[in-house]
């Protein structure tokens, strides 16, 4: 379980806070959606729980342990995986190598298992031939599926996605949400999806709305 306690953040020296006194909990086996207007601070928040940035004040705990104590690199490596709107795959490799690289970096037990990766990619509709092409030759939807497989195979307990369907059509979006739901429910993972699309937001097990500098769960 991921717990955010008394988090507050503002940019600049005298800037007014984006939000203060944020207290949230994210449980296993659930999909959380966070919806909010552009500029409300969704991405900023994700960066904190992803260990990519630090809030001005407040603490974040994973299963009771402060993530600062876990260490940012260690936390990113073993506890959390991120899916970005722009896919953020390594452009000089194939889909297969992208996933293998992530497995190697996170020191996964499957780090040299090509077949394991190819099977997983085939499971999201990317056949071996495509998996071995340079990743930039794949469509946006395919690339985002590669990114999701990368996030899922590294064995992190928390998967965070920032507008994962932002660049995709409805069909691909629906498919990706389904992937996240299966992953959370079947593997007992925490999935946190940030979106500004109400249709996507509706599909979360827990829906959080960020408005007027408040996170309100429903």
């Amino acid at each position: 379980m991921l717990t955010v306690k008394n988090l507050a953040h503002w940019y600049g020296k005298t800037g007014k806070p984006l939000y203060e006194n944020v207290n949230l909990s994210f449980e296993d086996a659930k999909v959380y959606t966070i919806i909010g207007a552009s500029g409300s601070g969704k991405t900023t928040f994700l960066a904190f729980i992803a260990g990519l940035d630090k809030p001005q004040s407040g603490e974040i705990f994973l299963d009771g342990e402060n993530i600062e104590k876990i260490g940012a690199t260690n936390y990113r490596k073993h506890k959390v995986a991120i899916v970005f709107q722009q896919y953020n795959l390594l452009a000089y490799m194939s889909a297969l190598d992208n996933v293998l690289t992530a497995l190697a970096v996170t020191d996964s037990e499957h780090k040299n298992d090509k077949q394991y990766v190819l099977d997983a990619l085939a499971g999201v509709g990317i056949e071996a031939a495509d998996a071995k092409k340079n990743v930039q030759q794949l469509s946006g939807g395919q690339q985002q599926r590669v990114a999701i497989i990368r996030a899922m195979l590294v064995d992190a307990n928390i998967v965070i996605a920032d507008e994962p369907t932002g660049n995709l059509d409805d069909e691909n979006s629906a498919m990706i949400v389904k992937l996240f739901q299966n992953f959370a429910h079947e593997h007992h993972k925490t999935v946190i999806i940030v979106t500004h699309d109400t249709k996507i937001a509706q599909q979360g097990d827990v829906k959080i709305k960020l408005a007027d500098r408040q996170f309100i769960a429903s």
């Binding site: 991405t43 994700l46 990519l52 940035d53 990113r76 991120i82 953020n88 190697a104």
Partner: protein
């Protein structure tokens, strides 16, 4: 070790960029290697010069002392007495390990007896060779028309080494001629008097009670200069013998007045001079070393050496800056990639390691290219540098050598401390110069290792500089930018 694989994937994916980097790195390394090669070659050549330049140490009369002694002399007829030193002392100094060989020179003035001296002008000068600053022994007596120059070995005598005199028949005077009356005479003198190798000639000493001496002709030499322009001192009238003969004529048997030691290694000049001084142990003698020829040979080498050193440093510094800038720029274009790796949990050290590995792989390729090209460039540049250096140094010798080493120097009896030495040195350097016309600029394993070392330092510095910008990257800003 996943970053090794990433390096390989990156380089093979970005072929054009990798090739460009390879070219830039090769260019840098070719210059570094040329510099190293030239530097090495110049160092080797310098060491050879040190060994071969034939620095000499001359023990001869301390002239100041000699003249002041003459002035303070109480006798009515003031005579210059040339000091002598025991041959045993000379030999002892000659046995020093740093001495290659030595040549004793004693001279005496005598008169022709069984033959006629060659005369360019009528009459004989009252002073003969005595007006020469370097006049050797035997000058205190009346001058005769023949100069007997006794040496340890004519082959090592300045006039012969400089080709002022050249043996045309018979043999040279050698160390084994000591205590004999074997002589080598000039061709003109021989022809005029119909003397051949194997004949015997007779001379008369200039002492009041003149003695006759029978000399055995073992060789005939030809003097290059036909006339010295000095009356009574025709080069043809110099007879070469062993150093023992003039000494016995002058009544100083077992002693000698001048000796020149030639060193094994020019670098030992100072220490050897000191040792010889201690052995001779007489204030009547001055012990002076001459390493002008050594210095003259050394200078171009040193210039090439320091130039090569500058090339290496300049190129290395410029290369580091260029590569550093390129890597910094490429890190900028690779920010997203680096951010992704960071978000996956890759340590920044490994990311720097990946950059370093990429550069290292390019370095290996560039090393191969540089090794193929560097030898060629180094050879061309090095020899060009050397020939320029030597042209300047040779022309400067010619001008400086001329006043002292002009026409009269070669055939002066006892001219050791004067012009003769000059001839000697410029000749030695001319001989050695042949060996230094080209630098041996071959690539040795050690220069390749040195190149690899420099290459590693260059890329390490360049990667370190760019690492600063990697470590400062904030992944959030890169990855989640709008």
């Amino acid at each position: 070790m996943n970053y090794l694989k990433r390096s390989r994937l990156y380089l093979t994916h970005k072929k054009g960029q990798s090739l460009l980097m390879l070219l830039i790195m090769s260019a840098i390394l070719v210059f570094v290697l040329s510099g190293i090669i030239i530097q090495n070659a110049a160092i080797t050549a310098t060491n050879n010069v040190t060994k071969s330049a034939g620095t000499t140490i001359t023990v001869s009369a301390n002239r100041d002392k000699m003249f002041s002694q003459m002035r303070s002399s109480s006798s009515k007829t003031k005579t210059l007495t040339t000091p002598t030193v025991a041959n045993t002392k000379i030999a002892k100094a000659g046995n020093l390990s740093t001495v290659a060989y030595y040549n004793i020179t004693n001279t005496a003035s005598v008169n022709a007896s069984s033959f006629d001296a060659v005369s360019t002008t009528t009459g004989t000068s009252s002073m003969g060779g005595g007006n020469m600053p370097g006049g050797g022994g035997g000058m205190s007596a009346n001058s005769g028309d023949i100069t007997v120059t006794g040496v340890s070995s004519t082959a090592h005598t300045a006039t012969f080494t400089s080709n002022e005199a050249k043996l045309v028949s018979g043999r040279n005077i050698k160390a084994s001629d000591a205590n004999t009356k074997n002589v080598v005479i000039e061709k003109e003198l021989a022809t005029d008097n119909s003397v051949k190798v194997g004949d015997t000639i007779t001379i008369k000493t200039t002492a009041t009670s003149a003695k006759k001496l029978k000399l055995h002709v073992v060789g005939i030499y030809k003097a290059k200069t036909s006339s010295t322009g000095m009356p009574g001192n025709d080069p043809s009238n110099t007879i070469y013998t062993s150093y023992t003969l003039p000494a016995s004529i002058s009544g100083t048997a077992g002693k000698s007045s001048t000796v020149t030691y030639t060193l094994e290694n020019s670098a030992k000049e100072k220490a050897t001079t000191k040792q010889i001084k201690n052995i001779i142990a007489s204030s009547a003698f001055s012990v002076s070393s001459d390493d002008a020829s050594y210095q003259q040979l050394l200078q171009p080498m040193k210039n090439v050496q320091s130039f090569a050193k500058k090339i290496v440093w300049l190129v290395a510094i410029a290369g580091t800056i260029i590569l550093g800038l390129i890597i910094i720029l490429s890190v900028r274009t690779r920010q997203r990639e680096i951010g992704v790796l960071v978000s996956l949990g890759e340590s920044k050290l490994h990311i720097v390691g990946q950059l370093f590995t990429e550069m290292f792989m390019i370095l290996i390729g560039a090393m191969v290219i540089a090794t193929l090209l560097g030898g060629f460039v180094g050879n061309k540049v090095g020899n060009q540098l050397l020939s320029q250096q030597q042209t300047t140094s040779v022309s400067s010798t010619t001008t400086s050598g001329a006043p002292g080493g002009g026409a009269p120097s070669g055939n002066m009896p006892g001219g050791k401390t004067g012009g003769g030495m000059m001839t000697n040195q410029s000749n030695t350097s001319a001989a050695n110069k042949k060996a230094l016309k080209t630098l041996n600029t071959s690539i040795t394993p050690s220069s390749v290792i040195k190149l690899g070392g420099m290459g590693l330092v260059i890329i390490a510095l360049a990667v370190c500089v760019s690492a600063i910008s990697i470590l400062r990257l904030r992944p959030k800003d890169i990855l989640i930018g709008e």
